[in-house]
């Protein structure tokens, strides 16, 4: 049985209940045995009902007096005894019940029950978020703006209380439980058809993998956003078809590569993440010698991504134990020393180094490395990694050229992949493009639309675009151009650029306007608000669709004629 709270109450109330029954029975038997006397002085025996009635009101300390007749002394002696006896029995029972209500197990059971009710009452799309921290709370707020509900599972009671204090509206149900336990996933409604995704962004790779495997086995239709911090784990996650893999070190390394090779690509990515406008300044990163402090998971990814590029890399790592894990090739580029030491920096030729990358996992050390390097070489380009960033960043005041904040990157990547899956596919497809491609696209976007275009995703299905869907079902040829049509004048074009078309898993980057549409196509547009509203009208409104397709106004009259055919 699922409802354990009732059983806990029943189980714990056994002893008090028996005490009450036994005290009642003894008292009643005593009253039945002892002779009483009626009004006229005749001997009289109490009936069972009289005795039960008397004990009932005496035991509960109500005390109506002596019924049916005044008691004799022998009865009074017994009743005195009974009063202590039964009242203590009652108090014991009531006390046991009160302490039971404060029982931790019972309270937990009741809150689990309440959680399940709350989850079942969600009638919209929702996602399950595992672990409540800065990143996930930001994700929660963001998805809430898009009218998607969230359910949180958190192990730490203090963090759970933080969520409760945030007072989100609509309520975010929270369960204090271990995310490893599949029962908590069940309670959080993973089998529910409304459940769209599970977000697991723990630092512990094993835990993330456990969650991923279990979630996929329980419900394979649910999308998973899982964090990974090594290539090995990323492969494991790919093997079980995880939809969104957030490997922040890989993303950071790729961003670094983009910043060096194709800064405009990075700018496009930032625009899609809604961090920057397209007109933002592109800092130039000089090529040459780079000094990277820290050779852990991030350092390894950077080495892997940048070793074939046109830059000279040298790493400084403080922990000498890591030497065992390095191969011959890596040993040539890694020095084991304290990067914060002035002498070490001078020795690694800091004066001729173009950029210093303070990428250790310690904020203070990173700041200190930057400060030392700047003193030795004022021209140097600085990049730093900031761990555990909250709303306020101390690094923002440190005048650093490039700041890498893992928690922000995790947030951007996850939220983009959850809410705008096509834009996420677009980003991952353009990572390897050239700078010229990026510059051209940026210029085109700014010229045709503006410096901060809206991103609009469309799927050609029954719900999102019923008119196009019907037309395609009827074998009417519709080309992509229809979405550029201005509804004010069919011969004019709206400010819109198609970025990506996905058809049966195949990706068409920057598709041509003449491409013929097919059912279930998914298209990503960059446009302004006017164009977006026109596209939505074309998709949903039968008159506007007809006008955009043929230039004719669909007439009501002809509609009637069709009806009577």
């Amino acid at each position: 049985m699922n409802n354990s709270s009732l059983w806990i109450v029943l189980h714990k109330m056994r002893a008090p209940a028996i005490v009450i029954i036994v005290t009642y029975t003894i008292s009643i038997i005593g009253l039945l045995l002892i002779d009483g006397m009626d009004d006229e002085g005749n001997p009289y025996k109490m009936s069972i009902f009289d005795a039960f009635y008397f004990i009932t009101y005496t035991a509960s300390t109500i005390g109506f007096g002596e019924t049916p007749f005044a008691f004799t002394y022998s009865q009074k002696i017994w009743v005195t005894f009974c009063i202590y006896f039964t009242v203590i029995g009652w108090f014991y029972g009531v006390g046991a019940l009160v302490s039971l209500l404060q029982n931790k197990m019972l309270i937990d059971e009741v809150s689990k029950l309440q959680f399940r009710w709350q989850v079942n009452s969600i009638k919209r799309k929702f996602i399950i978020i595992l672990g409540f921290n800065y990143v996930t709370s930001e994700i929660l707020k963001k998805v809430m703006q898009s009218d998607i509900r969230s359910v949180v599972i958190e192990q730490d009671e203090n963090k759970a209380n933080n969520l409760i204090l945030e007072n989100y509206t609509p309520t975010v149900p929270i369960l204090v439980a271990d995310a490893r336990d599949q029962n908590s996933l069940f309670s959080a409604g993973i089998k529910n058809t409304n459940c769209k995704a599970v977000v697991s962004l723990f630092d512990d790779d094993e835990l993330n993998l456990t969650v991923a495997v279990k979630s996929k086995l329980i419900n394979k239709n649910v999308a998973l956003a899982i964090k990974s911090s090594s290539s090995n784990h990323t492969e494991n996650l790919e093997d079980i078809n995880v939809d969104i893999i957030v490997n922040i070190f890989e993303i950071m390394a790729k961003e670094l590569k983009m910043a060096i090779n194709a800064p405009h690509l990075l700018k496009l990515e930032k625009w899609l993440y809604k961090i920057d406008k397209l007109s933002a300044r592109v800092p130039k990163i000089p090529k040459g010698k780079y000094l990277i402090c820290g050779y852990g998971r991030l350092g390894k990814h950077i080495y892997k991504v940048l070793k074939h590029e046109d830059v000279e890399l040298s790493f400084i790592e403080i922990d000498e134990k890591k030497i065992k894990a390095l191969n011959e090739e890596e040993k040539k580029v890694v020095i084991f020393a304290n990067a914060d030491d002035k002498k070490v920096q001078i020795m690694s030729d800091i004066r001729n180094t173009k950029a210093i990358l303070a990428f250790t996992d310690n904020n203070t050390v990173n700041l200190s490395i930057i400060a030392t390097a700047k003193k030795l070489n004022p021209e140097i380009l600085t990049m730093a990694r900031e761990e555990n960033a909250d709303d306020f960043s101390i690094f923002a005041n440190a005048d650093i050229d490039y700041l890498f904040i893992p928690s922000k990157i995790t947030f951007n990547k996850t939220i983009n992949a959850l809410l705008n899956p096509l834009s996420d596919i677009f980003i991952s497809s353009f990572v390897d493009q050239h700078e010229i491609w990026a510059q051209k696209l940026t210029r085109k976007l700014i010229e045709t639309i503006n410096d901060d275009p809206v991103v609009f995703e469309l799927e050609l299905n029954k719900y999102e675009s019923p008119q196009v869907y019907k037309a395609l079902l009827a074998n009417i040829e519709v080309s992509l151009e229809i979405f550029a049509t201005s509804l004010y004048n069919r011969n004019c074009q709206n400010n819109v650029i198609p970025l990506l078309l996905v058809r049966d898993g195949e990706r068409f980057m920057l598709p041509d306007w003449n491409i013929k549409l097919k059912l279930e196509d998914r298209i990503l547009f960059a446009c302004d608000e006017n164009a977006q509203s026109d596209m939505q009208y074309i998709c949903e409104n039968v008159y506007e669709f007809k006008y955009a397709l043929t230039g004719e106004e669909k007439r009501l009259f002809r509609g009637f004629k069709n009806l009577f055919k």
């Binding site: 189980h11 056994r14 028996i18 029954i21 009643i28 069972i48 009902f49």
Partner: protein, 125 residues
């Protein structure tokens, strides 16, 4: 030997035997049926019910159900007896209602004992 099992078994079987003690006799007159025996049967039955509370197993739930049936029948027999004693007269009809109610309770108690014995036989410890 498990003391809990001894106590539970004791009350479950005692509930049945006392119930039988009350039920045994003429079917249409209360002369051969003692009210004290009915009182004792109710008390023992209620105790047996409490002992079965909180057992989450399948057999535990069925045992609890049979016990609840016996309780309801015996308590309603006592209620009818009390009401008719004080507010009405006890005729043959009332007497036979009381006795047949306790007969129903006896059946429930027999089921309960049968299940209990069956479970004990199945248990390997």
């Amino acid at each position: 030997m498990n003391l809990d099992k001894v106590i539970a078994g004791f009350f479950i079987i005692l509930a049945m035997t006392i119930n039988f003690g009350f039920f045994y006799g003429e079917m249409d007159s209360l002369e051969t049926h003692s009210k004290y025996e009915l009182f004792a049967a109710i008390i023992i039955n209620v105790i047996a019910t409490t002992l079965k509370l909180g057992d989450k197993t399948q057999i535990g739930s069925v045992l609890l159900a049979t016990s609840l049936v016996a309780d309801i029948q015996l308590i309603s027999a006592a209620l009818i007896w009390t009401v008719s004693e004080y507010a009405y007269t006890i005729d043959v009809e009332i007497a036979s209602i009381i006795i047949s109610l306790s007969g129903g309770a006896l059946l429930a108690n027999i089921t309960s004992v049968a299940l209990y014995v069956g479970e004990t036989v199945r248990s390997k410890r």
